[in-house]
């Protein structure tokens, strides 16, 4: 069983997001992590591999610092990593998916996994687009995945419940929270991660040039949410304060 996991390096969930003088998101000095939804995908890939035989390859599109996220996946137990560095160009979901699909097109695979979305731009498009380009089925927001004899049973979230889908392999699946609890990288795994293959490619290596992946959409501006208002403390006797609280909730906050 050959399993490919598409993963992205994103800002740490603890990171404080600021905009630079050009109104772009400031990435300097921000600590980076593996996108948490992709972590579910890596974990699921490892579990499928551990149930039988298989090989897990993690793939990312990004700069050299993206190696940290790939190495984390290797330390968790993935076998190989592929990093395609597109250079200093603006990417959108189309660009990333095109690079991934072109890279994957030259590889063997039965299963493609990825987080259903990244916690930064949250577009939830990339794995779906990759599946489309590769002409294979995709099942989104999967919370349970069983693989048997060339097909998969995937449980996915639908409004108010869940549905179970059977699909023939090869197929792509996107991970939703609840799919599993990702493991910590093992200490031995960390020490060995550097010895595992990390295939670094350029756009030209995968047979693409900048024009072929030029972004189709462009972000015009970014804005930060308004600062939260300070809370209000209602002083006085409990009974009086409760009355005042009820009044404020009804008349000001309009929630009751």
């Amino acid at each position: 069983m050959k399993i490919l996991v598409c993963l992205k390096q994103t800002f740490d969930t603890e990171a404080k997001i600021t905009l630079d003088s050009n109104g772009k998101i400031e990435s300097k000095g921000v600590s980076m992590i593996m996108n948490p939804y992709d972590e579910f995908a890596v974990e699921e890939a490892l579990r499928i591999k551990e149930k039988g035989e298989g090989e897990v390859t993690v793939i990312s599109v990004g700069g050299q610092q993206t190696q940290d996220a790939l190495r984390q996946a290797l330390a968790m137990g993935a076998d190989k990593a592929v990093l395609v560095d597109p250079g200093e160009i603006e990417l959108d979901e189309f660009s990333t998916a095109t690079v991934l699909a072109k890279t994957i097109g030259g590889m063997e695979y039965d299963i493609i996994l990825g987080g259903f979305r990244a916690i930064d731009d949250g577009s939830a498009q990339v794995v779906g687009r990759v599946a489309e380009l590769l002409n294979i089925p995709v099942v989104n927001v999967v919370t349970k995945l069983e693989i048997e004899g060339g097909k998969a049973l995937a449980t996915r979230e639908v409004e108010g419940g869940s549905e179970v889908i059977e699909v023939a392999l090869p197929a792509a699946f996107t991970a939703q929270k609840g799919l599993n609890e990702p493991r910590y990288p093992s200490m031995k795994g960390i020490m060995k991660a550097k010895k595992k293959p990390m295939d670094k490619k350029t756009l030209a290596d995968v047979g693409l040039d900048e024009n072929q992946i030029a972004a189709k959409v462009k972000a015009l501006s970014f804005s930060l949410p308004e600062a939260r208002q300070a809370g209000k403390v209602i002083p006085g006797e409990a009974a009086e304060a409760a009355k005042e609280l009820a009044r404020l909730l009804r008349e000001e906050a309009k929630v009751i």
Binding site: I33, D68, R71, Q72, A75, Y184, P185, S186, M187, K188, I190, M191, A193, K194
Partner: protein, 381 residues
């Protein structure tokens, strides 16, 4: 930004430990403080994740003898805000285990290291006695060589993990007339007839770790439980002090840093005279002083650590790092309490615990006075 001393791998270890501390330790710290110990299962969990094996080779279940990775582990452990947790794990992994690993027979290593590294067994090192603290050579616990076994009599005090340790590496006099040249180390297992835990001691800080008083009465310890050679114990103890003291310095720096972070956050929120404390120069300068002290201590500690891991003589620098880092941790945590004002004196706020926990630093693992003795001894030949 990562310090030059640490590699990508170390930073990944850091991230992993930090994640674990955040998820599996921090939420329970208050509960464990009140219970007076952290659950025994934490040893097994830390073992399962490979943390207890960072400084041991693979043949015993470790991940390679990487003291920088070990250093990262203890730095991150300190971020949980309850120093007793690291004290307990450390007493087994970094204090008891190394005596067996560095000086023990292959048989002893095979018996005790794998379970120590997997966290299935808890170790302790027992040197201090009611009448022998800094003056290690004056210990009075005796072990009479009876041929195939030793007969141990005496008592030990202030022993971290003493209450629940599965084995205690115990300093004994095998030649009572020979001073420091008459000390040996014996591994004494829990349940050995004649070995009892007299009591669990109440402490000012480190409350998540258990500290015991141990008693040996005609305790028969098999001869093969001798660590290394007879009468070499003092030298073995002294050799691992470097690592123990480095760990204490690293923890002191990380704990002091935590106190600064917490105090700075408090200063941002606490409003007096119409402004947050963080807008007052007096508070800003106090925090700047605290941060400068901690950075100095960190640099010195990393320097000592770099000497230690490169295998060079680090005795002086390690003593300086332990002395300085632990002294400034007292000052910095004290100032952090001060910034908190009345709230800092309340048990509800964790800053009082940082202050209490820091206090052991200048006492345990060799007092500040002994550190100065070591440094002066190297200065004045």
């Amino acid at each position: 930004m990562a310090h030059w001393l640490f590699t990508e791998e170390h930073e990944l270890v850091r991230k992993t430990v930090r994640n674990w501390v955040e998820k599996e330790i921090k939420p329970y710290v208050e509960e464990w403080e009140n219970a007076g110990e952290f659950p025994r299962e934490l040893f097994a969990r830390a073992g399962e994740l490979g943390f207890l094996g960072l400084t041991y080779p693979e043949e015993y279940g470790g991940s390679g003898e990487d003291y920088l990775a070990g250093a990262v582990f203890f730095e991150e452990m300190a971020r949980c805000g309850s120093a007793g947790v690291a004290a307990g794990l450390g007493a087994s992994m970094a204090i008891a285990g190394p005596q067996i690993y560095k000086f023990g027979s292959e048989e002893l290593k095979n018996r005790f290291l794998p379970p120590t590294i997997s966290g299935k067994k808890i170790g302790a090192l027992a040197i201090t006695e009611p009448n022998a603290g800094s003056d290690v050579a004056s210990i009075q616990t005796t072990a009479r060589n009876m041929g195939d076994h030793y007969l141990v009599n005496g008592s030990k005090i202030f022993i971290t993990n003493g209450v629940r340790a599965d084995y205690v590496v115990t300093a004994v006099k095998t030649d009572p007339a020979a001073g420091h040249k008459g000390i040996s180390l014996l591994v004494i297992e829990k349940g050995t007839p004649g070995f009892t835990v007299a009591k669990k001691l109440d402490k000012l800080g480190w409350n998540t770790s258990d500290t015991g008083e141990l008693v040996f009465e005609d305790c028969r310890v098999p001869g093969e439980n001798l660590v290394g050679r007879e009468n070499m114990g003092f030298y073995y103890i002294m050799q691992n002090f470097a690592w123990e003291r480095l760990v204490m310095a690293l923890e002191a720096v990380a704990s002091a840093q935590l106190a600064i972070d917490v105090a700075a956050e408090y200063a941002r929120q606490r409003v007096q005279f119409g402004r947050p404390l963080s807008k007052f120069q007096v508070t800003r300068h106090k925090l700047a002083d605290m941060a400068s002290l901690v950075e100095t201590a960190r640099c010195l500690t990393y320097h000592a650590l770099s000497l230690y891991v490169s295998g060079r003589d680090a005795v002086t620098e390690v003593a300086m790092a332990k002395l300085y880092a632990c002294e400034i941790a007292n000052r910095v945590t004290d100032e952090a309490v001060q910034i908190h004002g009345g709230y800092g004196y309340m048990m509800e706020y964790p800053v009082q615990r940082f202050w209490r926990d820091a206090r052991i630093g200048t006492i345990g693992g060799g007092t500040s006075d002994i550190m100065k003795q070591v440094i002066a001894g190297r200065l004045i030949k």
